[in-house]
């Protein structure tokens, strides 16, 4: 076991030891390293002012991803390379194309959001070998960067045009050095970073992970920290023992076999989105609207489930898909239907020392029968007021099965059992759906909060059933304002 962490910051090796392991990357940059180009705008992953690029080796190649430095704990960067805005320019101060494009298009006013935008654009630039972005891609890449001044137009233009500028001369050389340096950081030891009253473990194998968790059953598991990070930055909790899943080999595994899609608990949204979209197009669309690029680059589906929130988006979708949760204690595995995992508000069926290993989702014969709807005040990067997910199968015009689950309607993600019962065996018609609307009050009595009133939740949840029915025969262009299938804004929307 190593008693310190190691990562690269702007090409230089940094060792972390004897410090609070819940120090955020942002605080390390700004306070320890005096790298003040990276800004704090919210400390909760919502504004993007703190965006940095984290690079790591994936199958021998370097993958670059924008993340929110404000909710990354420093030791999570073990073996990775962090690039901040200070590092974008070339020798002699030449601006990187993503920076130059922002200057040329007047993409900054007060400039406080700008380093974050530059970093998001930089990650996208690296990802796409120096190409500019089309508008929809730009919207997705920048959904996690808020700007209060510009109205975004010039920034979108910068995203579109950055590929037209000469590629940076210094890019290849830096990339080669980064690859070598990352290779040099590879190891399979468990890393421990500790201060007087906190400890952080980053094991590299599932066996060691399971062992550690058995030894410290009260430890907090951290995957992407898009929830846990906020416990520290917002609720100011003092976490004593943390076990990190991010280095565990095989934990982010995604595979399809025997008509089942298995998602390792450590798979991030970004790891999974393509496969999900292939097998369940609407789940792909739902995940596109979870958080932002930065959040999806860090956050995991396993974490979304384990967190147990009634307003997480994956649980209702996966419940409607009849997913199975694979739990593990030491070497022992346990499989339960996902819906049974959510017992009550804040209570899940998880024993001490037990963790989420994977999620198994049966593939669908007709994936288009599965639909998800996420209702929010703002389309991008907003937590659902209501999330409704539907899978109704129809044989000979009769409903043969119905799995309908909602988030935001109860203390847990929850199936609409009474509604389902009112559908099954009936003719699949608008009349049947309308008749089932009255059953919602048997299933749910939603609450009022800052996201929506109880009335709205109820009414919109009912209407989603109608929408689902309509979408059975009508094209999505007639029912959707954004995303998959929508054409209202000119047709380009994520077709």
């Amino acid at each position: 076991m190593r008693d310190h962490g190691t990562f690269l910051l702007n090409g230089e090796r940094h060792e972390i030891r004897d410090m609070s392991p819940t120090t955020t990357l942002l605080n390390y940059l700004r306070e320890d390293q005096k790298l003040t180009g990276t800004k704090e705008g919210c400390a909760e992953g919502d504004c993007g002012a703190c965006t940095v690029v984290v690079s790591e080796l994936v199958d021998g190649a370097v993958q670059h991803r924008a993340v929110n430095a404000c909710i990354q704990f420093l030791p999570m960067l073990e073996g990775k390379s962090v690039t901040t805005v200070e590092r974008l320019r070339g020798p002699g101060g030449t601006l990187h194309p993503c920076q130059q494009a922002l200057v040329d298009t007047h993409g900054s006013q007060c400039g406080f959001c700008t380093p974050g935008f530059a970093m998001s654009l930089f990650a996208a630039y690296e990802d796409r070998q120096g190409k500019g972005l089309d508008r929809d891609t730009a919207n997705d890449v920048l959904a996690g960067n808020l700007c209060r001044c510009t109205g975004y137009g010039p920034i979108i233009t910068a995203a579109e045009t950055m590929g037209d500028l000469p590629a940076p001369q210094w890019g290849e050389d830096r990339a080669a050095r980064e690859l070598r340096a990352l290779e040099a950081l590879c190891h399979t030891d468990t890393v421990k970073v500790a201060s007087t009253d906190q400890q952080f473990f980053a094991p590299a194998t599932l066996g060691e992970f399971a062992e550690l968790f058995a030894e410290f059953p009260d430890a907090t598991i951290v995957a992407g920290a898009t929830d846990v990070g906020l416990w520290v930055t917002k609720r100011h909790m003092h976490l004593k023992t943390i076990i990190y899943t991010g280095r565990v080999q095989g934990f982010a595994h995604i595979a399809v076999s025997d008509n089942t899609l298995t998602i390792g608990a450590g798979a991030t949204y970004s790891d999974a989105i393509q496969t999900l979209a292939e097998h369940f197009p609407d789940l792909g669309e739902l995940v596109r609207r979870i958080g932002s690029t930065q959040v999806r680059n860090a956050g995991t589906i396993g974490g979304n489930i384990a967190n147990g929130s009634p307003i997480g988006d994956c649980p209702p979708a996966l419940i409607a898909l009849n997913a199975t949760l694979v739990l593990r204690t030491g070497d022992a595995q346990r499989r339960i239907p996902l819906e049974d995992f959510f017992v009550d508000y804040g209570v899940q069926d998880r024993k001490p020392g037990e963790f989420v290993e994977a999620i198994e989702v049966p593939l669908l014969e007709n994936p288009d029968q599965f639909r998800c709807y996420k209702l929010t005040k703002r389309f991008d990067q907003d937590i659902s007021a209501v999330c409704g997910c539907f899978h109704v199968t129809v044989d000979d015009g009769q409903v043969s099965s119905a799995r309908i689950a909602y988030g935001g309607m109860a203390a847990t993600p929850k199936r609409a059992s009474a509604v389902e019962a009112a559908l099954v065996g009936k003719a699949w018609t608008m009349e049947t759906c309308e008749a089932a609307l009255s059953k919602f009050s048997e299933d749910f009595s939603p609450m009022t909060d800052m996201r929506a009133s109880s009335d709205y939740r109820m009414r919109s949840a009912q209407n989603l059933l109608i929408k689902y029915f309509v979408e059975g025969t009508e094209p999505l262009s007639t029912t959707r304002l954004v995303g998959r299938g929508s054409t209202i804004a000119g047709g380009a929307n994520h077709a």
Binding site: T36, G37, E40, G41, A43, E44, D46, C47, A49, E86, L88, Q99, Q100, L102, V103, H106, G107, S108, Q109, C110, G111, F112, C113, T114, A118, R135, A138, L142, L146, C147, R148, C149, T150, G151, Y152, G153, P154, I156, K234, H236, Y373, L375, K377, F379, D380, Q381, I383, A385, M450, A452, S453, Y456, R459, S460, I466, T478, L481, V482, I488, A489
Partner: protein, 781 residues
């Protein structure tokens, strides 16, 4: 001697007025080099301050014990009301905003005490160790509660002309209603921040993220009990302001200065986002009752407004803000008989404060909504009703040009602008196309609306309309520019530098832009009321002209030519037949002992205001613009989005068109956000539950209309003698966003075949829209 190269003798200078010139800090923004208050390198002994806040809306603080806080690790000092050597007040006007609450708290989020520790984590943790006992008192959270209880800051204030009540009673048609309009969080990306460095004697230097350095200076002096001349306040740039840094910077600056002087260590306050949103004020939310009489064409014959505003627990700038809501209750329309009464509600919520538009937008939304409703009842295109009611055009002989506050509108160009915009946006054709389209689209409905803007430019508190500048030319020919305006992203600094470059005919990079500093230019007003470039541009012009005059007189005497025969050309000066490089003339003047430094001053002419009679000329001129917005809504969920926006806006002869376009686009998006996704939500106990971006939703990238066409009005020219005939642009475009709200209303109206008026409240969240759709569907079936 001359280190910098002589200015090039090209035919035009870089950065002349009226030219596109990028933001002076653009390259520093993108590289992270631009320094904000929290980025200023501090010595290791710098203290970090946490401000502990009230958790009760209205209560007696019967007991507060901070001794455990004092003894917590890392804590250097804890300050409460009794530790304030001067006045315990950070209010801008009325003496009613204590630095630290003393015995009674008036809102959740009111500051109780400050903890200074080595790290902010220590300070925050220590603050939780205080024991505080509250005894709750009755609290009014909402406008309805305050109005019900008669809880007002002052007597209702009325502006009136004619006999509105009789005009309405005698009109062919009349209608009335009540409209609730939410507030708005500024959400400047950079939170409030102040860093105080103690000096000798009483001196203290405060770096403050403020739009109003002079007031921070004054406040720090007042709180410390020291004269203003001991306090220096400096700000290079803010990470956004929007009015939210006009007065809200006083508390953090005062707290930082108190700690710095108490401990003789540098001290810093940087609110984190949640604290910032709880502790600082927001745009006033309003409840507006209206009653209007009109003729068959929709011509308004009389109108009455009762505007009730939630001012929060103290005055702050609410008087002037509520006045401005009244000043803009007419928008672009002549109101023959009118009464506007304003109720300034005292509530137990954070004191509402300035926000881009300063009350004007609230008054204006109500007017535009009334026009829409009139059109609706008459089955007319709202645009026709708008046109019938416009103020008389600038050169038209008409009595229809007097405002409810008895000012004559001399420069109305709204009809021209709207006509151009209707044509360029194909408003009429699209309106019918959309109505047709809606018939075939049961779930998604589209809507379209046009709204005009007329916005009065000047501080309505007349004495504030003054500005100063300080210009030096060093003997190497480089120029140092300073003025009282602050840079919050709006491009003020580059615009004013353009003025200096223009006067001296040198490239703009010769002009050094410097941080606003109260030691250089004293007694300044806030950079607010859109007046930044109007006033600081003029003051700078004045300073530059003074130096230029001296240079000309010097050259004239040295070369024995008349002053009239001297001309500043790009990079050089023609003196009679001879051309002398600018640098050389400057150096020669220096050698001849000519002063190359000057102050400049400007006081806006023509304005006056008599509050008692509610009459006068509060505004130097008006800025105009109009927008057409197309939206789509989902009638099953209330979700909605903006599809296309067309804007034509009058900035006079723009000082810098690209900067102005940026203000217009940003203003529109912010205005549309205010009226759609941005919802502030308090619980019954007065706790703001939307205090971070996770719950308070400003527009994100994809909310921007995919099709946005913004034009500066080519004919625009300020009739008044403003800086190079430009017009102010900071606030007016925000109100272009009203068209988005009206377009949503239009889309909702389609579900009942345009027969029932949707009467949307703002913000028009998905919930608000769905409920309106359901209401209309219920009514029509």
């Amino acid at each position: 001697m001359l280190d910098i190269p002589a200015a090039k003798s090209t035919e035009t200078i870089a950065g002349a007025v009226h030219s596109d010139h990028r933001h002076d800090s653009g390259h520093k923004h993108v590289s992270g080099e631009a320094i904000y208050v929290d980025d200023i390198p501090t010595p290791d002994n710098c203290l970090n301050i946490y401000i502990a806040m009230s958790t009760h809306a209205h209560a007696k603080v019967t007991h507060m014990d901070v001794s455990a806080v004092r003894h917590a690790p890392g804590v250097a000092v804890v300050l409460t009301a009794t530790d304030v050597p001067g006045e315990n007040d950070v209010s801008p006007v009325n003496g009613d905003d204590p630095v630290f609450a003393d015995g009674e708290v008036l809102c959740v989020g009111q500051s109780l005490f400050a903890v200074a520790a080595d790290t902010i984590q220590q300070a925050r943790a220590a603050a939780t160790l205080a024991t505080i006992t509250y005894e709750d008192l009755p609290a009014y959270i909402t406008i309805d509660e305050a109005m019900e209880a008669g809880s007002l800051l002052e007597e209702p204030y009325t502006m009136a002309r004619g006999d509105a009540a009789s005009a309405i009673d005698g009109a062919a048609h009349s209608l009335s209603g009540r409209f609730y309009l939410g507030g708005q969080e500024h959400f400047y990306l950079e939170g409030q921040a102040a860093l105080a460095i103690p000096g000798e004697d009483d001196d203290v230097l405060v770096y403050s993220s403020t739009q109003h350095p002079s007031e921070v200076q004054h406040t720090v002096g007042k709180v410390l009990g020291i004269p203003n001349n001991a306090v220096t306040v400096e700000i290079r740039r803010m990470g956004g302001g929007f009015g939210g840094k006009e007065t809200s910077g006083n508390l953090p600056a005062a707290a930082a200065a108190l700690v710095a002087k108490k401990t003789n260590r540098p001290a810093k306050v940087c609110y984190d986002r949640d604290d910032d949103m709880v502790i600082t004020g927001k745009r006033h939310d309003f409840r507006i009752d209206y009653r209007v009489g009109y003729d068959d064409d929709g011509g308004i014959t009389g109108i009455e407004y009762d505007q009730a505003a939630r001012c929060g627990m103290s005055y702050d700038l609410s008087m002037a803000i509520c006045d401005r809501a009244m000043f803009h209750a007419d928008n672009t329309y002549y109101l023959p008989h009118v009464r506007i009464t304003s109720y300034r509600c005292l509530t137990h919520t954070v004191s509402s404060c300035a926000f881009r538009g300063f009350g004007g937008p609230q008054g204006m939304v109500a007017m535009e909504r009334v026009i829409d409703e009139i059109a609706h009842t008459l089955g007319k295109d709202p645009l026709d009703v708008r046109r019938v009611n416009y103020y008389a055009a600038a050169d038209e002989e008409s009595i229809r040009n007097v405002t409810p506050y008895h000012m004559t509108v001399e420069d109305c160009v709204i009809d021209e602008i709207v006509q151009e915009l209707t044509a360029s946006s194909s408003y009429t054709a699209r309106r019918s196309e959309i109505r047709e389209w809606n018939k075939g689209s049961p779930i998604i409905k589209r809507g379209l609306a046009l709204s005009p803007v007329k916005f009065g430019i000047s501080f309505t508190t007349s004495f504030l309309n003054q500005a100063g500048a300080l210009v030096h030319i060093y003997h190497d020919g480089s120029i140092h520019l300073n003025h009282g305006g602050t840079e919050m992203g709006q491009g003020l600094f580059v615009k004013v530098a353009q003025v200096a470059a223009e006067v001296f005919q040198v490239d703009i990079d010769r002009v050094k832009i410097t941080a606003t500093n109260t030691a250089k230019v004293p007694n300044t007003s806030a950079t607010a009321a859109s007046s930044g470039s109007d006033m600081n541009g003029m003051a700078t012009l004045n300073a530059c002209e003074t130096i230029k005059q001296r240079l000309m007189e010097f050259a004239a005497s040295q070369h024995q030519v008349s002053v009239d025969d001297i001309e500043f050309l790009p990079g050089r000066v023609r003196v009679g037949a001879e051309e002398i490089p600018f640098n050389k003339l400057v150096h020669d003047a220096y050698m001849a002992r000519i002063s190359l430094s000057a102050t400049g001053f400007y006081a806006t002419p023509k304005i006056h205001w008599d509050r008692a009679s509610a009459s006068g000329r509060p505004f130097y001129y008006f800025a105009y613009g109009a927008a057409v917005t197309e939206v789509a809504i989902d009638t099953l969920t209330g979700e909605n989005r903006i599809l296309r926006v067309d804007i034509l806006h009058d900035v006079g002869q723009s000082l810098n068109p690209v900067i102005d376009l940026g203000q217009i686009e940003g203003g529109y998006v912010q205005g549309a956000g205010w009226l759609t996704t941005e919802e502030l939500w308090w619980d019954d106990e007065g706790h703001l539950k939307t205090h971070a971006p996770s719950t308070y939703k400003i527009p994100a990238c994809s909310d921007r209309a995919p099709d946005m066409r913004i034009g500066l009005w080519e004919k625009g020219r300020n009739r008044e003698d403003t800086i190079y005939r430009s017009k102010a642009v900071g606030e007016p475009p925000l109100m272009l966003g009203i068209s988005a709200f009206l377009a949503l209303s239009d889309a909702v109206a389609s579900v009942a075949d345009y027969k029932t008026y949707p009467a949307l409240h703002a913000p028009a969240t998905p919930e608000c829209i769905l409920m309106a759709v359901e209401r209309l569907k219920g009514g029509s079936s």
